[in-house]
Each structure stands twice: as structure tokens, then as C-alpha cells.
């Protein structure tokens, strides 16, 4: 296909991606170098029944004029990146010098908003992903053994947690674990503790979010593995059986190696999706105990009456950096394969 025809076919798609994905990334990078205008104050004399007093107020008119003039704010260089709500170099340094043990240092760093969010995001990504793969595999193996007539309905119900809107899925579980909901109330009775709440303690909130993540994504792994199981070569399984391999050995030495590429595929998809974990935090109202990088950006954009564009942009750039680091092994592998083929 000549270049000209190729371009004729692909330009709408390419234009959409350049305009709304590539340029926004650049725009985020540029915005992150700026910071909001400082608050302009005016002295206002307010007189009441008890005499007059002067107050300092935000000068709204001057502020809006300033914003209209330079909407980006003022240039701040890398200042936003190093401030306390992002990489917080000064605070980390102070924590390093001021703490006696490594544990204490970690605790201090974990209290900084960016590191807290980063830690949760990484924990979520690297705990949920393997659990999804394992659970999905177990379900696929089990479903493969039940009678063929049940398979249709089983797959139908299995797909639900994944298909349903993430926010709604999280809300549905959230209402059930509410202290007055069916699971929350039952847990209180089982442990005989009327104060027990899955929302109050940080650890339990984390566990709840992980459980939600596994519940939401396991169907994906299940469906992929299940489709893979249908193509496992029966001859190999039979010859393994002739050689005296037990049921478990056949799974271990024939099925699992055969499904390995699928596991890599699921892991890649899950790493990408779990790294941007966001909706469950809103759905479970978990922001007090668990924030993710995506949530940080969202709350900056939602803050007060004017969004903190600079801060959100700096967090975005750091998040994009994380995505790139996460994808590097995949990209290197694809590049090698491509070179070998080419």
C-alpha cells in the first residue's frame, strides 16, 4: 500500500490521537512548569453595629483579571515537582536525617501525599495482578470440568463484575459492606463487635479495595484462560497420561506451560489497568485511607473554586513516567522480536 493511500485511510484516526492524546501530554508537561497566581489581597473596611474594622480579603476582581491575562499562572520551573505535595525533596531529606531507623524514615515518607499515593498504586497493581491471574486460572480449570450445559450461564454470570461500570460495581459492594448493609452487619455479628467497620481502618480499606480489584478483573483472566484451555493439544495430554502423569502433573507440565503466553498477555493488560486505579476509590469513599496517583490528579482538578492545574499537571507527568517505566520491559521485548523478524 503506497504511503499516500495509507495516509488517506489512517488520517482521521491519527488526527484524533494526536489532537487528544499526544498534544494533551505535551500540554500537561508545559502546564506543570506553571503555578497558580498568588492570592491578591485588598483591605476592606466593613462597618457593623459594633464599629468598623478592616479585613483582608481576596480581591476577586483583580484575580479574575489576572487569570484572564495569563490563564496558565506564573512560571515556576521545576518548583511544583519538588514541593511538599509532589516529590518533596526537602521533606524526604529531613526525614532521612531526622529518623533513627529505616522503618521510621519509611513511615515519615509515607505520610507525604505523593508517596502515599504512589505506594498504594504500586501495592494495588502488584497485589491485584497476580491474584487475578491465579483466581482466573482456577475458575477456568473448574469451569472446564463442569457439564457443558452449565457453561453458558456460568460464563454469563462471571462476566458481570467486569462488564458493569467500575464505579457502580464499587458502589454495589460499598453498600453491602456498609455497617448497615448485609455483609457489614453480618461481620459485626460474627465478630461480635458493633464498632467493626471496613471503612474506618486503613488496612481494612486497602484489603477491601484489593478484593474489589480481584473481583472486578478475575472474569477477564478467566475468559482468556478458558478460551486457551479449549486449544490445549489433546495429543500431548494423552501422551502425558500414557507416560503416567497424574492429573496435577498434567496441569503443571502441559497446561500451564501452554497457557504461559496468555498469562503474560493478561499481566500486561492488568498492569496497565490497575496502575490507573481510580473509580473504586471514589466508589468506596476511601480517599481518607487510600489514594492513588490518578486520585491525586482528580482531587487537584476538583479542589476549591479554581482547579490547581500546575499541581495536577506535575502529578500527571510523574504518573506518565510511571507508566513508561512499567511498559519498558514490554517495549524492549517487542522491539527485539521485531528486529529478529525484520
Amino acid at each position: 500500500m503506497p504511503h499516500r493511500t495509507f495516509l488517506a485511510f489512517i488520517w482521521p484516526s491519527l488526527l484524533a490521537m494526536v489532537l487528544f492524546i499526544a498534544i494533551p501530554i505535551l500540554s500537561v508537561g508545559y502546564q506543570s512548569l506553571f503555578v497558580e497566581h498568588p492570592q491578591m489581597m485588598t483591605e476592606v473596611e466593613s462597618c457593623g453595629p459594633f464599629g468598623c474594622k478592616t479585613e483582608r480579603r481576596v480581591d476577586a476582581a483583580a484575580m479574575s483579571e489576572l487569570r484572564a491575562e495569563s490563564p496558565m499562572g506564573r512560571y515556576n520551573g521545576m518548583g511544583t515537582y519538588t514541593n511538599p505535595s509532589h516529590l518533596a525533596f526537602d521533606e524526604v531529606g529531613a526525614a532521612w536525617r531526622g529518623s533513627e531507623s529505616f522503618g521510621q524514615f519509611l513511615r515519615l515518607v509515607m505520610n507525604l501525599p505523593f508517596y502515599k499515593a504512589l505506594f498504594f498504586t504500586l501495592a494495588y497493581t502488584f497485589i491485584v495482578t497476580p491474584l487475578v491471574i491465579v483466581l482466573g486460572f482456577c475458575i477456568a480449570i473448574a469451569v472446564n470440568t463442569v457439564s457443558a450445559r452449565l457453561k453458558g450461564p456460568v460464563i454469563f454470570f462471571s462476566l458481570l463484575p467486569m462488564i458493569v461500570t467500575p464505579l457502580i460495581g464499587a458502589l454495589v459492594l460499598f453498600w453491602m459492606i456498609d455497617a448497615r448493609g448485609v455483609i457489614g452487619a453480618t461481620l459485626q455479628q460474627v465478630f461480635n463487635d458493633p464498632q467493626l467497620s471496613l471503612k474506618a481502618s486503613p488496612t481494612l480499606t486497602w484489603v477491601t479495595l484489593f478484593v474489589y480489584g480481584v473481583w472486578h478483573s478475575a472474569p477477564f483472566a478467566f475468559v482468556v484462560f478458558y478460551a486457551g484451555l479449549q486449544t490445549v493439544p489433546q495429543d500431548t495430554l494423552e501422551s502425558a497420561m500414557v507416560d503416567g502423569a497424574s492429573r496435577w502433573e498434567r496441569i503443571r507440565f502441559v497446561t500451564i506451560p501452554y497457557l504461559m503466553p496468555l498469562a503474560t498477555f493478561i499481566a500486561l493488560m492488568q498492569l496497565m489497568d490497575n496502575f490507573r486505579v481510580f473509580e473504586p476509590i471514589i466508589g468506596f469513599s476511601a480517599e481518607a485511607n487510600a489514594t492513588s496517583l490518578s486520585y491525586l490528579i482528580y482531587s487537584d482538578l476538583r479542589s476549591g473554586d479554581f482547579p490547581l492545574f500546575g499541581s495536577a499537571a506535575a502529578s500527571s507527568i510523574l504518573t506518565i513516567g510511571g507508566v513508561v517505566i512499567l511498559l519498558t520491559p514490554v517495549l524492549i521485548r517487542t522491539w527485539r522480536e521485531f528486529k529478529r523478524k525484520g
Binding site: I155, I163, W175, A227, F278, E279, Y298, D300
Partner: protein
């Protein structure tokens, strides 16, 4: 021999059947429970005294005179204007699916048929774009959109969702077009068609299975999106998911949470129908990327 391969001892069958039943319960129970509870009053659905109340609804009987009530639905759909959010969602979803399939089929076809090296780089770029957290992109849109005065309108959101959807659509349709034999459109070229005529006359008639599957996933992305729609739309133009979230934010008092419950169940219902009708296509779509690489 093949029979022996599929023979299983009874305990193993029992164990795996039990596990499957447990999983199905885990997957389906929350939805059944919430759908059932959405027809009760709050005192029953959130009952501290006895969870059985949510099933039989004694308080519902007391307050409304029947064991089922549509009050929450009425309040959400009519008084709180959820119908408008449903309408907005329909507009957004139909437009996003149509536009992204149009762009995607053209682009995917070109990527599948061009032998040049840059197609590889385009696909890699699409993969990286697919991994971008949507909220990072949104933080790039907001300020320019404010400045250009296009923030808050449905068309803006539609085109943004189309763009976010493109990487995935391109990958999926690219791998689908790879399975359609090249001879098909090449013989059309030999017969004197232009490339576009070959695409229209020879490829379009056979591409529908792949397009339907890809369309389903575009639909899900547009329908389920919260990040983009909650940040880029004004209150009046809100779609269903941000509307449900706004029920939660402002109204945590008695009786109001049922608004969110009934709205959430309303938003879930079309998805259930979708899975029921298109189960096979969804399954094949999920595995397409894996099997074909």
C-alpha cells in the same frame, strides 16, 4: 483414550462444581441483592437489625403499603432528572461507537495492509497511548477547553472519548483485518478497483463480525466512563455515571441514598441485556488480542 482423559473421580467433580458455584455466587449475588433491594425503602435495604428485612421488606410495607415500591426510581428518574442523564448517555454512546468504528475500520485496515515499518511504530505508540491513565489526559484538556470555550458540551466529550478509544479500536481491528485474506481485496485491485473501492466492495461485506465485537468494547468504554464525563461536562449535560456519583456527594441523608441505588440499578440493566445478547462476541473479543498476539 480420549474418554479416559475426560473421566474424573467423583470428589474432584464435586470440588470443582462447588468452586464454580461459589464463584458464580460471588460474581452475581451483589447485583441480585442490590437490584432486589432497590425496590425497598432505605430502612429495609440498610437494616441494622436483621438482614432478612431487605428480602421481605417489613418497613417498606409499613411506609408505602406494599412490599415493593418504585418510589426511589420515581424520585431519581423524575424529580432528580435522571432521565436527562440517560438521554445524554444515549447520545454520547451512539455517537462514540459510530465515529470510533468509522475511524477505526479505516485505520485498522490501512495498518493491516501496509507493509512498511512505520505501521509497527504506530501500533507501539497506540499501545503506549492505551496505557495512559485517562485522568492525566483530562488534566491536559481542561485549561485549553476553558480557554477555547468548548468545555462542558456533549460534542467535546464525544470526540475526546473517540480519541481515547482509538488505540484500542485500532489494535483490535488491525488484528481482525489480518485474519481476512489479502487475496480478497488484492483481486479486487487487479480487477481495476481503487483501494477505497476494494475496501468498500470486497472488505466491508465480510468485516461485520469483527466490527460488532469492537463496537461492543467501544460501547462499554463510553458507557462506563467516569473520569472524562465527570470532568468535562456541566451539571446539565451530565451522563449517568457522574450523575450517580453526584447523588452520593451532596445527599448522604436519610432516604437519599436510595436515589443512588435505584439509579445504579437502572444503569446496570442495559449492561445485563448486552451481556445476555452478545456473550459470544464479548468472549471472542476478550481473547482476540491474546490469541492473535
Amino acid at each position: 483414550m480420549a474418554k479416559a482423559l475426560h473421566q474424573r473421580p467423583l470428589p474432584l467433580v464435586a470440588l470443582s462444581t462447588g468452586f464454580v458455584i461459589l464463584w458464580v455466587l460471588l460474581a452475581a449475588f451483589p447485583f441480585v441483592w442490590t437490584a432486589w433491594g432497590s425496590f425497598k425503602v432505605e430502612a429495609d435495604f440498610f437494616s441494622r437489625t436483621d438482614w432478612m428485612n431487605a428480602i421481605f421488606g417489613p418497613k417498606t410495607l409499613q411506609q408505602t403499603g406494599g412490599t415493593f415500591t418504585g418510589d426511589a426510581y420515581e424520585a431519581a428518574w423524575i424529580q432528580q432528572g435522571f432521565w436527562k442523564a440517560v438521554l445524554n448517555t444515549s447520545i454520547v454512546v451512539v455517537a462514540v461507537v459510530t465515529i470510533s468504528l468509522t475511524f477505526g475500520t479505516l485505520g485498522g485496515y490501512a495498518l493491516a495492509r501496509s507493509g512498511f515499518r512505520y505501521t509497527f511504530w504506530l501500533l507501539i505508540a497506540a499501545l503506549i497511548f492505551r496505557a495512559m491513565p485517562h485522568v492525566t489526559l483530562v488534566s491536559g484538556y481542561l485549561l485549553p477547553f476553558f480557554e477555547m470555550n468548548i468545555w462542558g458540551y456533549l460534542p467535546t466529550t464525544i470526540i475526546v472519548l473517540v480519541a481515547i478509544n482509538q488505540p484500542f479500536t485500532l489494535w483490535m481491528l488491525h488484528s481482525f483485518f489480518m485474519t481476512i485474506p489479502k487475496d480478497l481485496d488484492e483481486s479486487a485491485l487487479v480487477d481495476g478497483c481503487t483501494r477505497f473501492q476494494a475496501f468498500r466492495l470486497a472488505v466491508i461485506p465480510v468485516m461485520w463480525p469483527g466490527v460488532v465485537t469492537t463496537g461492543l468494547f467501544s460501547f462499554l468504554l463510553a458507557y462506563n466512563d467516569f473520569t472524562v464525563t465527570s470532568m468535562l461536562l456541566t451539571q446539565e449535560n451530565q451522563t449517568m455515571v457522574p450523575k450517580i456519583a453526584s447523588f452520593l456527594g451532596s445527599t448522604q441523608q436519610e432516604g437519599k441514598v436510595m436515589l443512588a441505588v435505584s439509579a445504579a440499578v437502572s444503569a446496570m440493566a442495559p449492561l445485563f441485556v448486552l451481556v445476555m445478547v452478545f456473550q459470544r462476541q464479548i468472549v471472542s473479543g476478550l481473547t482476540a488480542g491474546a490469541v492473535k498476539g
